[in-house]
């Protein structure tokens, strides 16, 4: 018996001015599921992720995380926009990892990790540090706590970024092309951390061009193009036997 889905998108649309970026996206992600989102550049993948943690506002449709409407409160028929404080309260449970890491360069790896737990959740510093060190060890960087991001390789920076997101104890992790900015030889170390995370039952939405990862780790795969979901299903089946011409054309380029 499955309960509420972790993420439920029901005909979600989003435009920037006259540019319709998302057109009626519907999908659901169950707790513990790993969903890979693939598609050509500009198809709206990042925008969709940003909508899930309300960094962007949806124009139409309904988007909810763990049964809660994102960015709005529903009272009867009417929707009320959430205050910034309430919106950020929803974000506490959603971790996000970016293509370009976005670590805070003026803070050490450890300081990067402890900021949000201390300032948002009010966790005492000693406890936050202890947890941060555990997380650093979990991503294989136990000895790099006092390094500034500029002194770490891309792969190490991205692993710190993952640890930083995990420090908030999220129930959902969003990855936006986490390995696209990395030198090829550093991709593996980041994917390994993500695999380990998936194996612990974390719900994950991963935008990626790493089809090997999708085949091996993902429970489902969604192919987006031009702001619509073109095809979705079991990753091994979709990759082996794509039903749509556009999917085939895209896969022939990335595989």
């Amino acid at each position: 018996m499955s309960g509420t889905p972790m993420v439920l998108a029901d005909r979600v649309s989003k435009s920037f001015g006259s540019n319709k970026v998302l057109r009626s996206i519907s999908l659901s992600v169950e707790p513990g599921e790993v969903l890979c989102l693939v598609g050509p550049s500009g198809s709206g993948k990042s925008t969709f992720l940003r909508c899930i943690n309300h960094l962007e506002r949806v124009d139409a449709g309904r988007l909810s995380v763990d049964g809660q409407l994102v960015g709005y409160r529903q009272k009867g028929e009417k929707l009320y926009e959430l205050r910034p404080k309430e919106a950020s309260f929803q974000r506490r449970e959603i971790g996000m990892v970016f293509q370009r890491f976005n670590l805070f360069p003026h803070l050490t790896a450890l300081e990067n990790i402890i900021q949000a737990p201390m300032r948002v959740k009010g966790i005492p510093k000693a406890k936050a540090i202890k947890r941060a060190i555990e997380l650093m060890e979990r991503v294989g960087l136990g000895d790099k706590a006092d390094h500034y991001p500029a002194h770490l390789s891309g792969g190490q920076q991205q692993r710190v970024a993952i640890a930083r997101a995990l420090a908030m104890d999220p129930k959902l992790m969003l990855f936006d092309e986490p390995t696209s900015a990395l030198d090829p030889e550093l991709v593996g170390e980041v994917l390994d951390v993500m695999k380990e995370l998936a194996s612990t039952g974390m719900t994950m939405i991963v935008v990626t061009h790493e089809m090997g990862f999708a085949r091996e780790v993902a429970d489902s795969l969604v192919f987006m193009d031009g702001g619509v979901v073109v095809e979705s299903g079991n990753p091994r089946e979709v990759l082996a036997n794509p039903q749509h011409e556009r999917t085939r054309a895209f896969l022939s380029k990335v595989l």
Binding site: L55, P84, H106, T108, L110, D143, H147, Y148, L152, E189
Partner: protein, 322 residues
């Protein structure tokens, strides 16, 4: 890199060392020599001219009245800048705020205070104390609830600080705004994704990074402010360095030596400020560039020479294989 690569190569494998004659720069030397010579001639000549009144320079340079006035100038500078930086930061953040009311207020302030001469503003603040001798709080055009003497703008020193600060804040806000805008958007996004509030994002993430961009022009502004304080004569306040040296020369009829005295004091302060700026810049360069990384908190396994990026990668790879 494998250990083998670090071992010295056999002698016959190494290329011949370069032993070239370094490039000469004869013109640089010549021009420098000429400039030094010219300067020497000027100094010797100036030393012999009556008008410079060197005796008076040495007499007044450590005069109690002058050093006291120098302190006033320094106080005016520091107080005005501290207020201007705080207010400038506030205005810059207001201009970047999503709230249109807040944004317009900041815009209007900058429009007025940057658009009129500081000298005129100082004259104006000097007069305001006369126009509004009594301040009141209450419903407009009714009997006021509270009224009190306008002590603030009748104190000329305080008026000068306020006048200088309000003008400077307009410039500081533009400097701060440029600094805030220089911080990569991904930083704010990452901070918000971590559920930090807008205020926390500014305080913890954006402002500290903007400091690197903000400090050099701010140093410039401090030095500029040091000299702008000489305009407080418009208030009129005459206890600052320039005011006092002018006052003395009006009595002794020796303007040039006192101008030199004042200039030397201004130069002294400017030099001290430049040293201070150097250290502040260093402080906020934290995490940038390839400065030697600090020692690890919990060393584990064989540690590489921290700080060398290639070493870190090497270590990391071998670690992953374990």
């Amino acid at each position: 890199m494998t250990p083998a690569e670090n071992e010295p190569l056999a002698a016959d494998q190494e290329g011949e060392a370069i032993k070239a004659i370094p490039l000469r720069h004869p013109w640089r030397v010549l021009i420098a020599a000429l400039l030094v010579l010219t300067l020497a001639v000027f100094v010797i000549d100036a030393g012999q001219r009556e008008e410079f009144g060197w005796a008076n320079v040495s007499k007044y340079i450590f005069d109690k009245r002058i050093s006291q006035a120098a302190l006033v100038t320094l106080q005016l500078t520091v107080y005005a800048m501290v207020i201007a930086i705080a207010l400038g930061l506030l205005l810059a953040i207001m201009r970047l705020s999503p709230n249109p009311v807040v944004k317009s207020v900041a815009w209007l302030y900058i429009w007025i205070f940057r658009g009129t001469p500081v000298y005129v503003q100082l004259v104006f603040w000097g007069i305001v104390g006369l126009i509004y001798p009594v301040l009141t709080i209450g419903v407009p055009f009714m009997t006021p609830w509270i009224s009190f003497q306008n002590d603030i703008l009748t104190n000329l020193f305080v008026t000068a600080v306020i006048g200088l600060a309000l003008n400077e804040a307009a410039y500081m806000s533009e400097i701060v705004r440029a600094g805030l805008l220089s911080v990569d958007e991904g930083q704010e996004e990452a901070s918000r994704a971590l559920a930090m509030s807008w205020g926390q994002t500014m305080r913890v993430v954006v402002v500290p990074q903007a400091m690197r961009i903000i400090i050099p022009p701010t140093g410039n502004e401090v030095i500029s402010m040091l000299k702008t304080t000489s305009l407080v004569a418009a208030i009129p306040l005459s206890i600052d360095l320039y005011g006092v040296s002018r006052g003395i020369s009006a009595v002794t009829f020796t303007p040039v030596p006192l101008l030199i005295v004042a200039s030397l004091w201004y130069l002294l302060f400017t030099s001290i400020l430049m040293v201070g700026q150097h250290f502040i810049e260093k402080r906020f360069a934290r995490g940038s560039g390839r400065r030697k990384a600090e020692k690890s908190l919990q060393p584990r396994g064989p540690l590489p020479a921290a700080g060398d990026i290639t070493n870190i990668r090497v270590n990391n790879k071998s670690e992953d294989k374990q």
